[in-house]
């Protein structure tokens, strides 16, 4: 039996993906298993045998890793071709795994990464290769199916809710303010934008919220803004980058395709601000942009801990002989007390599926239902105290990566 394991990261960074890496390494060390390797830059790096041993990271380094945002081992957006079309790619993977005696491959990513896991797992099964494949969920978007929520979301939600709360205080400064349109990440789903409801719940947040789960009606938007402006003399709007009109056209001004045929979004807030200016509103467009997915200075402790536990649980599934599965979170609210447990779900059910904000959380006018708070608030609970050195949090840095 192969005793070593290989861990790699894929897709967009989150604030807690490295907490899952920590969980994998810590659990393997705790159980006294073989070596833990990390692939640098995901499956793309593994194909180039860009692999480092991480079992020998010091306790101090591991503790830094646990609270460091971004992908500490690098990521990729490599689209694995089908095995029938490009068998040499899979042969290279199999050879490398054999060389390093890899008994389980842990891939930490979103739905595209789970598609990669699925392909590799099937190739291994079809070719009697003695290596398991286990996915560890990671995405700020919270759009993975089969799991109550995703590690990465709670911290992004906490950052978004906090800066929306702070911006609501900021924009209340003047008697006649502007219409401030804040663009939040979310190509297809509104989970991140929905987190801004927490700011409103806490006394100062957006007046209006628009999710991609509903088609965007520009005339209605102008009317909504005008109604708020009439009484408040200002208006704060939270909008998902991926909103589309009834014909399915993105509101964003431009778009190009990435390797997964996803549209690269941007400019939704600017477009809306320009539309409002034509109706004589003074506006400001804000994109929360990258800081929302790497806000290590304001982690949700719940999210950070669940990311760690997802990594630990993945290692336990390897020991149980599971493969072609993804770690998923089950959450219950027992008399208002939030409880989680972990399970392993078939990876095919996750790969390329998308979980939208359900109808029950969206009011008939497209705005958010306060019921959503019961879902979101527990995920944002708790703070992580970072150690600051020279004015910024002290973060883990891998020698292999050039910053």
């Amino acid at each position: 039996m192969r005793n070593n394991i290989l861990y790699a990261q894929s897709g967009g960074p989150t604030a807690v993906i490295n907490a899952s890496a920590y969980g994998v390494i810590a659990e393997a060390k705790k159980l006294g298993l073989g070596k833990v390797y990390a692939g640098i830059n995901g499956i793309e790096g593994i194909l180039n045998e860009n692999i480092v041993e991480v079992t020998n990271l010091s306790e101090e380094q591991l503790n830094l890793l646990k609270n460091t945002p971004g992908t500490a081992f690098g990521s990729c957006r490599y689209h694995l071709p089908d095995a029938e079309k490009s068998p040499e790619v899979y042969q290279k993977i199999a050879e490398t795994f054999s060389k390093y005696e890899i008994g389980c491959f842990f891939y930490n990513g979103g739905n595209d990464s789970m598609d990669t896991c699925s392909k590799i797992a099937h190739y291994f099964a079809d070719n009697n290769i003695d290596c398991q494949v286990i996915g560890i969920p990671k995405t700020i978007d919270n759009d993975l199916d089969q799991t109550h929520h995703c590690p990465g979301y709670g911290s992004a939600a906490k950052f978004i809710a906090t800066v929306m709360h702070e911006m609501a205080l900021d924009t209340a400064s003047y008697t006649k303010g502007k219409v401030t349109v804040v663009e939040i990440m979310g190509r297809d789903t509104g989970w991140l934008t929905a987190a801004s409801i927490v700011a409103s719940h806490n006394g100062a947040g957006p007046d209006l919220v628009y999710l991609p789960e509903r088609s965007f009606d520009t005339e209605q938007f102008i009317e909504d803004v005008a109604n708020i402006y009439k009484t408040k003399h200002r208006c704060l709007v939270a909008v998902a980058e991926g909103i589309k009109d009834k014909d399915g056209n993105y509101i964003a001004t431009y778009g190009t395709m990435d390797n997964f045929n996803h549209v690269q979004m941007g400019g939704t807030a600017y477009r809306l601000a320009k539309i409002l200016e034509h109706h004589n509103f003074k506006t400001r467009a804000v994109e929360i942009n990258l800081p929302q997915r790497c806000g290590g200075h304001i982690l949700s402790k719940t999210d950070r801990n669940e990311a760690i536990q997802s990594g630990r649980y993945a290692v336990k599934q390897w020991q149980k002989g599971k493969t072609c599965c993804m770690v998923a979170i089950k959450a219950t609210s027992d008399n208002g007390k939030y409880k989680v447990s972990y399970t392993a779900v078939p990876i095919e059910k996750v790969a390329n599926a998308v979980k939208y904000v359900p109808d029950q959380y969206i009011l008939p006018n497209g705005q958010l239902d306060n019921k959503l708070l019961d879902y979101i608030l527990p995920l944002m609970e708790g703070t992580v105290t970072q150690k600051y050195i020279n004015g910024t949090p002290h973060y883990f840095k891998l020698d292999k990566i050039k910053y």
Copy 2:
């Protein structure tokens, strides 16, 4: 003698302006002086007699106020006309101050607000009105003259350095990354952009930095980026919103005038990203935008404490009979140990003056000299632990203001 005092806020919000309000109120209460009033929305509100008593705020409310970003009492951008042209405005102020028995007016703002202070102080002197006028400095821009630095800057610098550090980790995810151009506030001065040097000092920060203190050469910029990209396959750029070309034209794509004839900036990062795209770079434009001036969740403890002390010191200057002055900070570095003291400087020397990043901190190629770290790091030192309720920091909110 008039025993009450009036405090008001003016100009753009900061993360610690309310700490100065706390300082004024706490010191007046400690000394057992008269009532403390706050003008709502600065001098504009005072002209409408929009005034509340704040001496009776509870201890709990005051403790929240101390750590709340934004202008808790509202702000304005009202340009006070000259007394010769509009004597009725000054008569109204004098009447209101007489009615509330105001012995000292504390105006918490930037250089435009100090111009307002100066005008009112001179009117009072010329008309034998028994009321002092004392300015309390506040600006994230750090551009006030006669003071070593300004309350508000340290916290904004801490936020900027931290998110630049986190974005540097984030953008290091892929083997072939983009050129990420990050726009930071700063119409005329580069103090805020300069704070990003701290991220680089801490191991991951911008590769290139451009301040408004030097004219921006687009050709040189493209060459600088290309040089970095050649070896790193990505590039992180920090740029002040107010950079201009050698003919004095703003790089930003659009500009409109505000009441002080200042250009409203925005779009510098987008403009630069578009220029780079024409040279076949993949780019991402990021504006840190509003969050950098209201980041209450990541206050610099040094900055917060100095803001409080500035408020307290202002009250003491009233007791000493000072008028037409602004509180200023003197800082020394005694064997590397940072020490501050406070002084009162003639307000005319501050009003409408601008303090630029000095030449000694800028290298011949326009990039930053590490000597700047000695100036900036002490201002960012220390963290303030916020109390979180329901996922976001618990902040003070005045009933009078509709959020």
